[in-house]
Amino acid sequence: MIRIDRVSRPRILHEVSFEARPGRVTGFLGPNGAGKTSTVRILLGLDRASTGTATINSQPYAALPRPLTVVGALLDGSGAHRARTARAHLRWLAASNALPRARVGEVLETVGLTEAAGRRAGRFSLGMSRRLGLAAALLGDPPVLVLDEPFNGLDPAGILWMREFLSRCAAEGRTVLLSSHLLDFPVDDVVVINRGRVAAHGTLAEVQGDHGSLEDAFLALTGAASW
């Protein structure tokens, strides 16, 4: 369970509150620059909120013991140094949270990078970098996944794969929070953010309301329909 409670940062976020629940895919939607990445970074302890709290299973990220076993996060870029091999990157990550080394081979297999394990991360295509980032997120088999724009840089086959993968994660009972400026993926719950404020929050049906489709609701809520 992810809970964001009245999180603010001057000029970026204004009293942002929402929850993401287990067993559901929560889409965190908004135009570019709406505050999605800032919220995710605060949730993950990379940035600080000036007021408000962001917790995962009732604890701030920085208080989680062996955090990779609780939360898997995918951010912009792979997180691997370009001169390090994919395998070496995942090995130090596994060591940092006392995870068994065998997990490295397993997650490489899951994301389809087994063949590229010995290649340096700097030689990876954008899509492969995202897969490596996802492999890192899955290392600790975490019950919570937080993904910032997971579809960026993926080719159509990769997008399909990611959509199915995220649905499967939710079906397994995991909490899946993903931010996106696209709307083309299956969601159970929706949070729409615009200019640092939550414009709508609820189940897909609740947010769609009378708008007919999520696209129409999104455009109406974010005022982007003017063109």
Binding site: L46, G79, W92
Partner: protein, 205 residues
């Protein structure tokens, strides 16, 4: 420091140090820096021994090759901020920043100690730590190396020639006069480590 109050903190430190050592061991630029520094030190020491058998050849060699240890220290820190955004992976894995800083310092001391063992002096460990402190503060390898080289190769000799009494407080006195410079060789990296840890704690990633 919340990290020290947590139960299981020592175990956490050991796993973090293990991960940091793994990072240091799998980065090609660090292997190159270590290998070249080592080779240059051996060659210069051999040459110094032939030229002046009475002087300590290792100390003579280290006057020049300490720059290699400085670069090594800088790179251990700035690798986190190079392209790829490794610092975020690091902070997601070990989010408690003082604990992470302690693990990184410990790993660097271990790596630098292994590297300097053949020289019979601990002085290069001090130089590597100063490099790492500068790397953490400046987050840029070139800026940190330039600052460190200016400190060791220009500022220290100039300060020594103008105020000979300052020798006790210069970071490089320990190289030629360990008895006199030991305190400074410990205090300089310590002060930089404290400054770097505080800046790391409060700055955004």
């Amino acid at each position: 420091m919340t990290a020290t109050a947590r139960p299981g903190a020592p175990a956490e430190l050991i796993t973090s140090v293990h991960a940091e050592l793994h990072k240091l061991g799998t980065l090609p630029s660090l292997r190159w820096a270590a290998g070249l520094t080592w080779a240059a030190t051996v060659l210069l020491a051999l040459a110094a021994h032939r030229a002046a058998p009475a002087a300590d050849p290792v100390a003579t060699a280290l006057r020049w090759t300490q720059a290699g240890f400085l670069v090594f220290g800088v790179l251990t820190a700035t690798q986190e901020y190079e392209s790829g955004g490794q610092i975020r992976a690091t902070l997601l894995a070990v989010p408690r920043r003082f604990a992470l800083a302690a693990a990184k310092a410990t790993a660097l001391i271990v790596a630098a100690a292994v590297l300097t063992l053949p020289t019979g002096t601990a002085y290069p460990i001090s130089v590597a730590l100063v490099g790492a402190g500068l790397g953490w503060l400046l987050r840029n390898a070139l800026a940190a190396v330039a600052t460190g080289l200016t400190l060791y190769l220009i500022a220290c000799p100039v300060a020594l020639s103008r105020w000979p009494a300052a020798a006790n407080w210069l970071p490089d006195t320990a190289l030629l006069d360990p008895g006199r410079g030991a305190a400074a060789a410990v205090l300089w990296p310590l002060a930089l480590a404290v400054g770097a840890s505080l800046s790391f704690r409060w700055r955004h990633a």
